[in-house]
Amino acid sequence: MFIKRLISNKMNLIFGLLGLIILLFIAIPLGKMILGSNPGILLKTFLDPQVINAICLTLYAALIATIFGCLLGVPLAYLLSRFNFRGKRLLEGLIDVPIVVPHTAAGIALLFVFGRNFIIGRAFGNLGIQFVDSIAGIVIAMLFVSVPFLVDSVKEGFNKVDVRLEKVARSLGASPWQAFTRISLPLAWPSIVAGNIMMWARGISEFGAVIILAYYPMTAPTLIYQRFETLGLSYSQPIAALLIIVCVIAFIILRALAYRGDKHDQD
């Protein structure tokens, strides 16, 4: 039915062909990566404790970064959605800066602030928290580069919640907290979940900032890079395949939740 409609219109047909190129551009490398691995090496890699540790560490660090991102990002997203003020655009631009700067540069910027030579790094150091070559450093790097995805997604979610629903709740006796927790938060929930999954998935794939701040302990992307540099393509490919599978699963969950959120909005 869709194909029939597509070929019945010249413009749609051209758009379809152009779209197909981009779809193949994404699908072929990913498919080749997963299906093109040598099964023997793939199995050996899956059983390699260093690989398993790296993948678990990546998932764990990304989760911790996401929890921090959620705790700090959701309130910010709510304020940005509800208030207009001078400099708001600038602030929104600032939040998105980590998306556009090279991530190695982001890593160096973080190293300056959280390294031992800066006051913040020293203050945390006095509390026993080190950011260089530590899990905390990986978390900070992931948080920095992936939190804009969460803030943007959650802000859009709150934008979709009519502010008058909160006003009605207030006039019915709800405090600002009650209006937020009973009305705005549940209604923006699909976007909050989507934002968290997006941030987590983006954190998993982070390499540039992490390698500057914490080469060790090794995350999966760092391990892929190290194996590629030392042992070659065939040894880095299975780890990359495994990581891609994890990211794809996260992405499928994200799309499913976003779809449910849209359906809820249409209701």
Binding site: D162, R164, L165, K167, V168, R170, S171, L172, G173, D267
Partner: protein, 350 residues
């Protein structure tokens, strides 16, 4: 009941200025004005949803200017009903009572009372998305009434409804007011709605109150061209009035002169409602004081009625029924006579 003194509210570039208003207990008070006049801002300021820069709002002799919205004892119903989409109808209407931690028995009593009052008992377990416009409006009203507010604020409650449903909900509002005898402040841009429901009307424009009075006063005795235009007094003529013997004034606009049944002098406006003017093909005997002649320049068909614009000069519009129009066979370019009583001419300074 509600007394607003010198209220000043600023929202971005818009400001509500010098609002002085008193709404009595059990009154059905209408705030009437065009889009962007500040009606909703005023309503939300009463509800505590907008910060007040200056002035005072009194409710039952309590200064509530700085009260939080949840402490004011007022409920608001919006044009698009603003029902909570993730709740059922029942959870919507009991939201305020659940916040007050009412017992299960109290919730059931309230649910039955509101269900019966608004005829929505059969909808209680429905999702709000499945309701019609009229049903949504009733649920929004039930939710607002559930907390037994001192004042019910209605923001254009009929605007989003089709004409048939609008009439039914309008009737519902009237009945509700009679039954509960509560204080209602209702915002609308529709002057017919205001005339039908309001015990008193405040006309608002550009953030300021233009006139407050009974529907009769607003309709027949507007105090400014703004109000006169808003209540569809199509004939607002600027001219000069001169007092004469017998408690009347002669009003002159250009070379045309007619009489008004009020003593007035100097530069002023004359407002004549189109429906108060009789249009005929010959002068009406025995020759009342205001009989003007002119040429029809425009006929505007409104379905059951028609507006006929006659150039005397000035141009004067009159309203006739379709039956009258068909019987008389008016057409553009035809010479006709316009007759109206001096008591139909309202003079004001503006």
């Amino acid at each position: 009941m509600i007394r607003i003194e010198n209220l000043y509210v600023e929202l971005g570039k818009f400001a509500l200025r010098d609002i002085n208003l008193t709404v009595d207990e059990s009154e059905y008070f209408i705030i009437l004005g065009p889009t962007g006049a500040g009606k909703t801002v005023l309503l939300e300021s009463i509800a505590g949803l907008n910060p007040v820069k200056r002035g005072t709002i009194w409710l039952k002799d309590r200064d509530i200017t700085n009260y939080k919205p949840e402490k004011r004892g007022v409920s608001i119903v919006y044009q698009d009903h603003a029902l909570f989409p993730h709740f059922s109808v029942k959870d919507n209407i009991l939201f305020g009572l659940m916040l007050r931690k009412k017992t299960r028995k109290e919730l059931l009593t309230a649910q039955d009372w509101l269900g019966d009052l608004l005829g929505i008992s059969h909808l209680l377990n429905r999702k709000t998305a499945t309701l019609s416009g009229g049903e949504r409006q009733k649920v929004a009203l039930a939710r607002a009434l559930s907390t037994k507010p001192d004042v019910l604020l209605l923001d254009e409650p009929l605007s989003a409804l089709d004409p048939e449903t609008r009439e039914a909900v309008q009737e519902e509002l009237r009945k509700l007011h009679v039954t509960l005898n509560n204080t209602i402040i209702h915002v609308t841009h529709d002057f017919e709605e205001a005339m039908t429901l309001g015990t008193r009307i405040a006309v608002i424009g550009e953030g300021q109150l233009k006139q407050v009075g009974t529907p009769e006063e607003i309709f027949h005795r507007p105090v400014s061209p703004f109000v006169a235009r808003f209540v569809m007094t199509r004939n607002i003529l600027a001219g000069q009035a001169e007092k004469n013997a017998g408690g009347e004034s002669a009003f002159r606009v250009g070379v045309t002169e007619f009489f008004a049944a009020s003593e007035f002098e100097g530069v002023c406006y004359a407002a004549i409602r189109p429906e108060d003017i009789l249009i005929s093909l010959v002068p009406v005997p025995p020759g009342p004081p205001n009989c003007l002649t002119g040429i029809i320049v425009q006929i505007t068909d409104k379905g059951s009625t028609l507006y006929i614009k006659v150039n005397v000069p000035p141009e004067i519009s009159c309203l006739i029924t379709r039956r009258h129009f068909n019987e008389m066979g008016f057409y553009t370019g035809q010479r006709v006579y316009l007759t109206f009583l001096p008591s139909s001419v309202h003079l004001f300074k503006g």
